[in-house]
Assembly symmetry: D3
Homo-oligomer: 129 residues x 6
């Protein structure tokens, strides 16, 4: 199994709902350094999993929809508690939409998205394609 | 599949038994930067895999039992050759005990512990929960 | 010249005032990974620049005053455009206050605070003590 | 499941064939920071997956066959489009040969090789042993 | 003193002239992860050293002039032994030209450029502005 | 001003003397990831500050004298409280001896040694040559 990963980031504000979150129930924010890993059982005719340039563009577009925003006000995220792990799924599902639309070639088997919220904590979501 | 990872560290002394270890048979030590990854197939009602604060506390407690010690003298580790990979298991099993005791919520599926012994070497142990 | 550095972090929301900031004029947020470097020309009687434990506590207290907050609402920061470089100075000056109050021993010559806002951008402020 | 990872690097020149590669069709080069992960279901009698010293030597030998070279001129790579993912397989297969020849002990179950081409892109190849 | 740093990278091929370079006399290549640090004694009216967006664009333009090329064939570098430290100066001097042309605001006092050639070696060049 | 940095590491055991050190008064250990930075005002005839290969060898030799040892038992360190900052000086002074002996070329102006004891703490010592 092969994989290719590209990294980007986004700067967002949000608050979390639930007593478990303590002070993170207040409006605050985060830099998420975002890694998107694309998996493919075999390489394509060019010898790649996915074109790194197109993968980076797709990821940049997805984080661009979320970055420099207060996620509490985003209609698309209504009802989502925007924890790091939940946002990892949002990014992964949006990338999967782009894969399904053909923006990233074909033959991809799976996708992992990791959001680093600090140097000591990160979360991932893994899904098939 | 979702995961959440928290990072901590411990400073220990030890020696290793076996000719394969060469100079590491002498008493020396290491900083282990320790990553604990918790896995859960779905998010809980709060939208999380595990509370990052509680996960960090659990990991801090476990590395606190080992840190600032000469592991050669620890009764709990008698008979264990405290290689990086063996210590990864010790940390993972102790975290699993805390999960079983309910300190980290329920529904967790698995655990991976990685110990970085330097910028060029690390070891992991992965187990179900 | 000797130095000791400790690292912590804070999660904040804020917005920036000025056309130069483009989309960062909107309410968003950041994780700042914060490095505080203490300088001393010679080591003290214990052979240290500063006790790492006390330095870490002081930094944790300072970032704790800012973290999990919307900096746009903080009275202490009224009139401050909370850019990364301006916040580096806020953190440094608050650490300098603690040094002056004796919380970190004596003999320190200077201080550098670096705030990493992402994997590709950071800012520093350096001052004497 | 246990694993041990060692890191090394190589500096190579190459060009890529195919319009998808854009400017990377020109002769250029890369530093690949190379991580080799060895997996074993259980630890051996010494309490290890593989001797870190021998693993590091094996990886150093493999990257030494590729480094400080123009890969476009290497007979062994004729017909290979030396993308990061393809090179990850080359390194992994050459390490697997060394495992099969007994240079790294026995009982190993699998191998993952990751080549980091920059701070924002990397690729992996995973195979059984 | 304040500073702001932005990071980018470039992929180049080259060879080095001189027996001291051993195998690096052969045509090979490198990824240089490039950090450009801008210094200013005080913040400007917007509370910044330099606009991070414009600094990132300037650095991207400079590394874009060098990347995906064989530096041995670049007319602009004729007679330059393109060691990591010499390239750090090339990048710094080209950024200084852009500062002088007004692309990065005014009031900047100095510039440091660091090129990371691997996880275990890097070089810097520092100059006034 | 130019500089070149090389990175290596050492694994040591030690204990620290003084109440300020709390649990670190017990025998424990550390991995020190060691960065040695060499400074030179101008490049030499080969276009370098120092040969990276020779710098790496010198650093490897110096950390080899300390690594895989209990520093409490080292005659050369008798009377030294082997804090991170004190060890940074030991490494720097030993490198300076090698520079003075001609092992690293001439014309070097200064040296900085940084010892990283974990992902959240490090110390440096800077000296002229």
């Amino acid at each position: 199994m092969f994989s290719v990963t590209v990294r980007d980031h986004m700067l967002i504000a949000h608050s979390l709902r639930g007593e478990v979150f303590g002070p993170a129930q207040r409006l605050h924010g985060a830099t998420y350094v975002v890694d998107a890993t694309f998996r493919r059982a075999t390489l394509d005719a060019d010898g790649i999993v996915v074109d790194i340039g197109r993968a980076a563009e797709a990821l940049h577009a997805v984080v661009g929809e979320l970055g420099y925003r207060n996620l509490d006000d985003e209609a698309d995220l209504a009802g989502v508690n925007t924890t790091t792990e939940a946002l990892a799924r949002v990014v992964a599902d949006r990338l999967a939409d782009r894969v399904r639309d053909g923006a990233l070639g074909d033959g991809l088997d799976g996708l992992v998205v990791t959001l680093h919220e600090s140097h000591i904590a990160w979360a991932s979501y893994e899904r098939p394609l």
